[in-house]
Symmetry: C2
Subunit: 452 residues, 2 copies
Amino acid sequence: MTVVVVGAGLSGLAAARRLVAGGHEVVVLEARDRVGGRTEGGRLTDGTPVELGGQWIGPTQDRMYELVAELGLEWFRTHNDDGLLLVDLRGRQSRMAPHKGAVPRLGPFALADLGQGLLRFSRLAARTDLERPWESPDAEVLDGQTFASWIHRNLRTPSGRAYFRIACEAVFAADASDVSLLHALFYSHSGTDLETLLSVDRGAQQDRIVGGSVRIAETMAAALGDRVRLGQPVRRISNDDSGVRLETRGGEVVTGSHVVVTLPPTLAGRLEYAPALPSWRDQLTQRLPAGSVVKCYAAYDEPFWRATGLNGQAASDRGPVKVTFDNSPPSGRPGVLMGFVEAGDARHFARLSPDDRRRAVLECFARYFGPRALAPVEYLERDWMAEEFTRGCYGAHFTPGVWTSYGHALREPVGRIHWAGAETAAVWNGYMEGAVRSGEAVADRIGAEVAG
Amino acid sequence: MTVVVVGAGLSGLAAARRLVAGGHEVVVLEARDRVGGRTEGGRLTDGTPVELGGQWIGPTQDRMYELVAELGLEWFRTHNDDGLLLVDLRGRQSRMAPHKGAVPRLGPFALADLGQGLLRFSRLAARTDLERPWESPDAEVLDGQTFASWIHRNLRTPSGRAYFRIACEAVFAADASDVSLLHALFYSHSGTDLETLLSVDRGAQQDRIVGGSVRIAETMAAALGDRVRLGQPVRRISNDDSGVRLETRGGEVVTGSHVVVTLPPTLAGRLEYAPALPSWRDQLTQRLPAGSVVKCYAAYDEPFWRATGLNGQAASDRGPVKVTFDNSPPSGRPGVLMGFVEAGDARHFARLSPDDRRRAVLECFARYFGPRALAPVEYLERDWMAEEFTRGCYGAHFTPGVWTSYGHALREPVGRIHWAGAETAAVWNGYMEGAVRSGEAVADRIGAEVAG
């Protein structure tokens, strides 16, 4: 019997690939006319590939490095060592070496405050249970408060607090107010630790894929051939003892023995299910909103910031772009600056006119790297909140109380319906690594069920 | 041109009624085979009507009293004065007079603590801006924390904290961990104050409708005649300069000049929209989960608790039923106990077998009112989380950060799509009063737009 996979992102394609390798029939239904989900390839006018979505892999994401090698792809280092990182905090700019775990040059009080805060956070994070976060020590207390409440209580200096707030926005594309403290701790632990999540060198932003991260999905999809059906948004899933039946918006019907739904939780919750999903699963997906981010690009003849001793990375407490990277191709021509507009900034930004958005982004780039940034050859952006088949990035975050009340329903199958996707992963939750691992794990479970 | 209303709950029917009175053509599309939405009529085997959903009105809900009179219906007092209220806190039972604002008999420290906490809460609540909660003083700080964080910081005694936690569960069917402090404050102010929300006498639970609250919706629907179409779940809404076009799951197509969507936010967000909704509206509905509640009934030959000096109301910190009411008909025959299983209790309860659920509820009733409660003539329950076309009651709550980030999108129309429902009301948000007011206000706006 056929296993039906909903979504041709990394999780769905990894599940399909694993199932096919196990001798199963597979159909992948993808809403869009492209594969890749939250990874997406774009091109500048001159043909330079740019990544409109997720782009990085880093150490301990072992499955990604293996997969990339299996697919015959190559990776390269994120531009990092061509200069210093620019820190723009409370109106003052400083430069720092782009090493893992480096903290900004601050006064002695702020530095002590930040150091103590980081230590406390990392100790709490290390105690979270990755498989069952709701069974972590003091789970209810940690889950009963926002990350913002913890920051307010545990950091005393404006700079220390700003550091944590920016870190939260950079990691979750959400304000510290939006996120459960337990989730912030779990998520950091899931990706090793907060330092790793924030770092380029030996961190989550260390490496990129030659040709763009979307090559991973495209290469997997090519091997799956016509098993992958594009332009087929699933609308309804029926499920009984005999199997599953899916209907698409276009009226196609696909049947199978099992279905793997790999959509982000908020979209998975919008499908029609027959019978209706149990209350705990439905109420879970009501409570896992996606983050808010617009990814912005400006291209220049050359990476001019390198000549001034900067590596193109900025971190600021003033938006709309608070975080930037040098996203130039390995050749260094053209020079490509990439900036994220995240969380509250993104919600405001989304309501501006295209001209005002472009201006606001370029003004941030100019504040960090000088007036040459105001005159790019090209400007490009992707608002992930507006994408009908994503509705927010980087991923979903757990709001307070949700892990402890509904965590059990995250991966628990409902009859023949299985759930996968980056949000369901215990390790590297929310990252490409988590997406692939979750897809493969579900494929293995279904394979075992069919064999049993 | 026709105005299409999605949902035949109180909000949708009130909007339709107002539009018809203004000379407009109206079609109401209702998913279920009944009207009333979150009000629903049930019957005991002997024919006694019981309310499976919302049931009360109270002073300052002026529009409800007017409407009930307009519809030729009558109200009666909730059973309250037939005895004392039972308080079961931290394993100790006491009785208190069921007066508005009465607080449980506690030791002097707990009493002082609770008194101070209530005063602080009411002062903060009174400062919230009902029309624009995100513009209240200190809105970001208040919205950046859970109600649980505030309780933990502002109350010192276990009894004081328990009181607030139970109050939160009783008002929101959500744990204090789940709810933004700003929302708890706004919501209390929206319904006058926390005391009013919790009270029977001069409070939100003061009066009931003869024949059951569903008579309100049924009477409105009867007057609307075949404008109300049952069994028509809307699936897709298209909207352009020329009008709106709705498709139902059954393939019916209805067109009009405007549409009023009165579904709870989490369900409104699940429809397909063409063009896709703007990101702020979509991300808002990702962040407004419905509460968790199961309403449970046990019927007895007579209201035996009255003979022991109790009025059938209990408030406890031990579940699964922490709150009960005497829901006997005005005649007092049969005796009907009603209990709510709320928040975390409801999520656990939903996974139990029907037998275990019944047993757990009756054991709570017996703990409060004696062993006669174990042998009802009949037991009945309604799990609102499991209802495909509601997915949780009493209503949606705002999680931290949502009012300040997305509040503006709650009532803002998207093209020709207008939003109504209890969750959109400034006054008596979440109550029948808010539902009716919101429906009528949107009808007036559309009427003015058409006339202009």
